[in-house]
């Protein structure tokens, strides 16, 4: 679930009862009572979100380090450094490549699984379990199991390849493969969430829609293409959007599967890991804060672009 932390409500639909919402301006008297209800949340929010945001921005202009007490203001030095730091751009690139590689299979396989489950009802419980269970597994477990599967020689995947007469692949040791290996693992691990969204959407399609089409003589394939898929359009938009947001924040599985190295030649190191490395093993809190803010800006831009795209799509519907 960690990769989906942050269910974006922009896409959410008001519940049916939302219509009953009272919009009259004098529905409530203004008083300070309400503030007390809001206060605990606001206090935690201020302490653990606003404060680090503000302090992170300020720290980005200093040479603050984990390894010494003295901190001094360095102006735009960190920003100048990050622009010229190839590791920033290569890790940002890795993050984007990961997003581009993982999103299509995560959407397509999730949809395929949901369609299969919707049709193959006799074994539905079993499909639901095996498709969704991996999603509930902690990332450290996922990494342990897949590192074990990817082993050369006695690893399951390479054993399978050898048995088929194919050459072994250095899944985690080959710089050209390591990011793809992470994508495969991620698809296995997180597709269950998309699957669930699709399944819920599919089962919300009223039966009479299909029955009418069947009466018109539409075959199963026809019904899928001209009824089911169009009706799932909204869900697909939501899934893609959640997926993009989650993929940009990738860190956990890469860090664990590459034993903290980011893969050979840092071929799989995502930007969050570079922030982590700059801040902790390299102790440069100031620099890491600046890189964080740069990445934050990227996320905001992507979110706004996404939001506008989504809204336009909704309007044209």
């Amino acid at each position: 679930m960690t990769t989906h932390a942050g269910v974006t409500p922009a896409a959410a639909v008001p519940p049916a009862a939302g219509a009953a919402r009272d919009r009259s301006p004098n529905r409530r008297r203004t008083s300070w009572a309400g503030l007390w209800f809001v206060l605990p949340f606001a206090a935690l929010y201020a302490l653990f979100l606003l404060w680090p945001m503000v302090s992170g921005l300020l720290t980005g202009f200093t040479d603050r380090s984990l390894g010494r007490d003295a901190t001094s203001f360095v102006g735009l030095d960190n920003w100048a450094e990050l622009v010229a730091d190839p590791a920033v751009w290569s890790s940002l690139w890795n993050t984007l490549v990961f997003t581009a590689l993982s999103t299509p299979p995560l959407v397509a396989i999730g949809l395929g699984m949901a369609l299969l489950t919707d049709r193959a009802r006799r074994v539905g419980w079993f499909l639901r379990f095996s498709f969704f269970a991996p999603f509930l597994i902690p990332v450290a477990v996922v990494a342990l199991v897949w590192e074990w599967m990817y082993q050369p020689g006695f690893g399951l995947v390479n054993s399978g390849l050898t048995a088929l007469g194919l050459a072994e692949v250095g899944w985690l040791s080959d710089a050209d493969m390591v990011l793809l290996s992470v994508v495969i693992t991620t698809v296995w691990w997180t597709v269950g969430f998309n699957y669930l969204l699709y399944l819920a959407a599919l089962q919300g399609i009223p039966a009479h829609v299909y029955e009418a089409a069947a009466l018109d003589g539409a075959g199963p394939w026809r019904r899928l293409v001209s009824i089911t898929l169009p009706l799932l359009g909204r869900t697909t938009a939501l899934v893609v959007m959640l997926q993009l947001v989650a993929s940009l924040k990738i860190f956990d599985q890469v860090y664990l599967m590459t034993d903290g190295t980011g893969g050979p030649d840092y071929a799989a190191r995502p930007i969050i890991q570079y922030i982590f490395e700059s801040g902790f093993p390299s102790m440069r809190i100031g620099y890491a804060s600046a890189v964080s803010y740069m990445f934050f800006a990227v996320i905001v831009i992507v979110s706004i672009a996404q939001f506008r795209l989504f809204v336009r799509k909704e309007e044209s519907r």
């Binding site: 974006t8 939302g18 809001v38 949340f41 935690l44 193959a120 269970a133 509930l136 969050i272 964080s292």
Partner: protein, 289 residues
């Protein structure tokens, strides 16, 4: 698992059941094939965990242990740290879930049913937090935590996970949807805000509260990055962090690794089995469909 099938779907199922077609059989077979493929990693881990250590790296591989043994499980449980981490995960997840429900419910009620000067403005600021992925804040947050001395404490792990704008938004929207009449009736009877919240709003919100609670729990249980940053003392680590960082002195022992991994995955699988209905329906209730 049948919870997903809402009423119309159930009707549809009855209508379709008698027809067993060739196409239907093919779909079933394809589904079963994919489902079994999807389980292979876990089955392989399960098989490995019952092997003696020497057998794990045998080439060619053995699908099933030749000499099944509980040795790996025994060693993992004897080491005791997995139990410790499970306890820590439980403490942290329960803490996070309870606090999130309490704090978000109160705030959602505040924004939905009361007005105070600047409320819209405050709500806007809080909601904007959705745009801030917690991953981006780890470095300044760690710096702040060292300053106030919360690194390597349960509070340090739990508190930053509590104020979740998404959950506030979901609850507020649900509260907005509860008809005013119910609340007004209670207010006329002289009930205060807390009273209204407790005896009118909460009972009506049980499903959405369950959904928010379960999702928060699962999310917190599986959260890796922040607990990983905030704990270095192995006695305070959660399951994902402990499994991901602490090594055996004897090098990599695959059977033990797999046994520990499966044991580490077990609690949530059990939670899922118990609450599958709510987990699946939560997607709908949270307005995510």
């Amino acid at each position: 698992m049948t919870a997903v099938a809402a009423a119309p779907a159930a009707a549809r199922r009855r209508a379709r059941r008698p027809r067993i077609t060739l196409g239907g059989a093919a779909v079933t077979v394809a589904g079963l094939f994919l489902a079994v493929t999807w389980l292979i990693p876990l089955l392989w881990a399960l098989s490995t965990s019952f092997k003696p250590e020497a057998e794990t790296t045998a080439v060619p591989i053995n699908w099933l242990p030749l000499e099944p043994t509980f040795e790996a499980y025994r060693s993992v449980l004897a080491r005791g740290d997995l139990l410790r981490w499970t306890l820590n995960s439980t403490v942290v997840s329960v803490l996070v879930t309870a606090l999130t429900l309490a704090v978000c419910t109160l705030a959602a009620y505040g924004f939905s049913r009361t007005r105070f000067p600047g409320d819209r403005w405050v709500f806007g600021v809080l909601l904007a937090g959705i745009m801030v992925p917690p991953q981006v804040l780890i470095v300044p947050l760690f710096d702040q935590m060292t300053a106030i001395g919360l690194v390597d404490t349960y509070w340090g792990v739990a508190l930053p996970q509590v104020a979740a704008p998404v959950m506030l938004f979901i609850l507020k929207r649900f509260f907005d949807g509860i008809p005013r009449d119910y609340v007004e009736a209670a207010r006329v009877d002289g009930a205060g805000h807390l009273r209204v919240l407790w005896s009118v709003m909460l009972p009506m919100s049980a499903p959405v509260l369950a959904a928010v609670g379960i999702y928060t729990f699962v999310q917190s249980w599986n959260n890796f990055l922040w607990p990983f940053v905030a704990t270095t003392d192995p006695a305070l680590m959660t399951v994902p962090v402990g499994l991901g960082t602490v090594q055996s002195s004897y090098g990599i022992l695959y059977a033990q690794n797999m046994a520990a991994a499966l044991l580490g995955a077990l609690p949530l699988i059990i939670v899922f089995m118990l609450f599958q209905r709510q987990v699946v329906r939560g997607v709908t209730d949270a307005g995510l469909k």
